[in-house]
Amino acid sequence: MIELQDVSYAYGGEAVLRGMDLTLAPGSFHFLTGPSGSGKTTFLRLLARQLVPTGGTLRIFGDDAAAMDRDAVAGVRRRIGVVHQDLAFLDHLSVAENVALPLTVAGRSDPEAVRELLAWTGLGSRARALPPQLSGGERQRMALARAVVMSPDVVLADEPTGNVDWEMSMRLMTLLVELNRMGKTVLIATHDLGLIRAMKGRASARTLRIRDGAPELAGAGL
């Protein structure tokens, strides 16, 4: 599904990530962890084809990421839902419209899915508000709802629970576990080891830890 062969990435100067050999198999569930600034967001941006590897080969759904044209990139993004760490919304559209955005730009519509996701993330009563009128945690939940609204093949979530309380975290995780059970690939970047430990029992999750610029499987000790 997503394969990395000796992939590296540098923002100009020294490489942030390097020598990455990894395969995200369909239906897998991964946590990605590592200290702040270690390259978690960079890794997710590579997988979502927001960044192009500066070295090595990255294949997304079988296609070489470096060789894709812009419409192919748009196509890939319709199959990969992303919770961005900086949660970018269209501030002039309502919460419901923002959640429906991936559907809208694909020329589709699924009010049912939007409603259900808003209800599950506790945003039902805020559906008509504008994004700037939400609290930090509410925005994070909205971003998760938007990432999964198309029921994409892959879900990449960057710190999706950094601003929500424990109960809501568990609720959001349940959503991702459900999707994973439906065969979707899930990857969650987080520094919250408590969250990872809590989920160990509920999903057959594996943990990748970024060390020396490359994610590697963490031992059972985590």
């Binding site: 927001q50 748009a74 993004r77 955005l101």
Partner: protein, 297 residues
């Protein structure tokens, strides 16, 4: 063309993606309106100077005199011959021998009002009014020389020369200012489109990150901003037209120099301003949108 049509039909979905209000929207509307207003005045000015130039050259070119300089006995037959030639000349609208009183009036400034006409050896004068298109002066001179050798055609070229030059120059100034205003308008509308697109850089990024194709994004913006420029320019043009229509009429005051304003079908010209503004905005917005898109993966 097909692209423009697709554009105007538009997609209600994509249209929603572009913020409806804000400084970028006001700027596009306002800049187009100001430019439509200016262009309207420039057009009026161009037309006015064109009309003025036409009037100067036509008004003077439209009249000529034929003077019969011949021994007393030949005056009468030569006059008749000249009249015949003139009546047969294509491009001559009217031919009329001037009466003694009319001839006296012509020389009055030099001799005074109660000039003794009968006593003066005033030559016979024939007034020639030119049609549109006019006659061929050289050909006419040749024919007159052949059939009425004493007839001298004076088409007032001597007086006309500088006035025609002046008229041409005035018309040139009109077109020059029109061109300069058109160029500045295009520049301003382009800058406004760029600024508006830059203000929406975040929107473009979010759309792209959520799987929108370049075409979808570009079309949404191009449609919205082209419409805004069109509407703004239409508003500005209408305002300008109103202002011009409200200016005191020129004919009442002077009569010589026409005022600002359009005559008859001339009022159709300003109708071109909004589509041109729209077209400029279309090109500028599309280019700006594509540039912004290239900055996002």
């Amino acid at each position: 063309m097909r692209r423009v049509l697709t554009l105007l039909r538009g997609e209600s979905g994509a249209g929603r993606m572009v913020p409806r209000t804000g400084a970028a929207a006001t700027l596009t509307l306002g800049a187009s309106a100001a430019m439509g207003f200016l262009a309207m005045f420039a057009l009026a000015l161009t037309f006015a100077s064109g009309r003025l130039a036409d009037r100067w050259s036509d008004g003077l070119a439209g009249t000529a005199t034929v003077r019969i300089e011949a021994p007393r006995a030949q005056v009468e037959p030569q006059m008749r011959a000249a009249l015949t030639v003139l009546r047969q000349t294509p491009g001559v609208a009217e031919v009329r021998a001037l009466s003694a009183e009319e001839r006296a009036a012509l020389v009055a400034p030099w001799f005074g009002e109660d000039v003794p006409v009968a006593d003066l050896p005033l030559p016979i004068l024939i007034a020639v009014t030119e049609a549109v298109p006019g006659y061929d002066a050289e050909g006419l001179r040749l024919r007159l020389a052949a059939e009425a050798p004493g007839a001298v055609l004076d088409d007032h070229a001597r007086w006309r020369g500088p006035l025609v030059a002046a008229a041409r120059r005035l018309r040139l100034l009109g077109w020059l200012s029109m061109g300069i205003i058109a160029l500045s308008s295009a520049a301003i509308v382009t800058l406004a489109a760029n600024a508006a697109l830059a203000a929406n850089a975040r929107v473009i990024e979010v759309l792209r990150l959520n799987g929108a194709r370049d075409d979808y994004v570009a079309r949404a913006f191009v449609r919205r901003f082209t419409l805004r420029a069109f509407i703004g320019a239409a508003g500005g043009t209408a305002l300008g037209a109103m202002a011009i229509a409200l200016l005191p009429s020129a004919d009442a005051a002077g009569g010589f120099l026409t005022g600002l304003g359009f005559r008859g079908a001339g009022w159709l010209w300003p109708l071109l301003i909004p589509p041109v503004a729209g077209a400029v905005a279309f090109a500028a917005t599309r280019a700006a949108a594509m540039r912004q898109l290239r900055a996002v993966s």
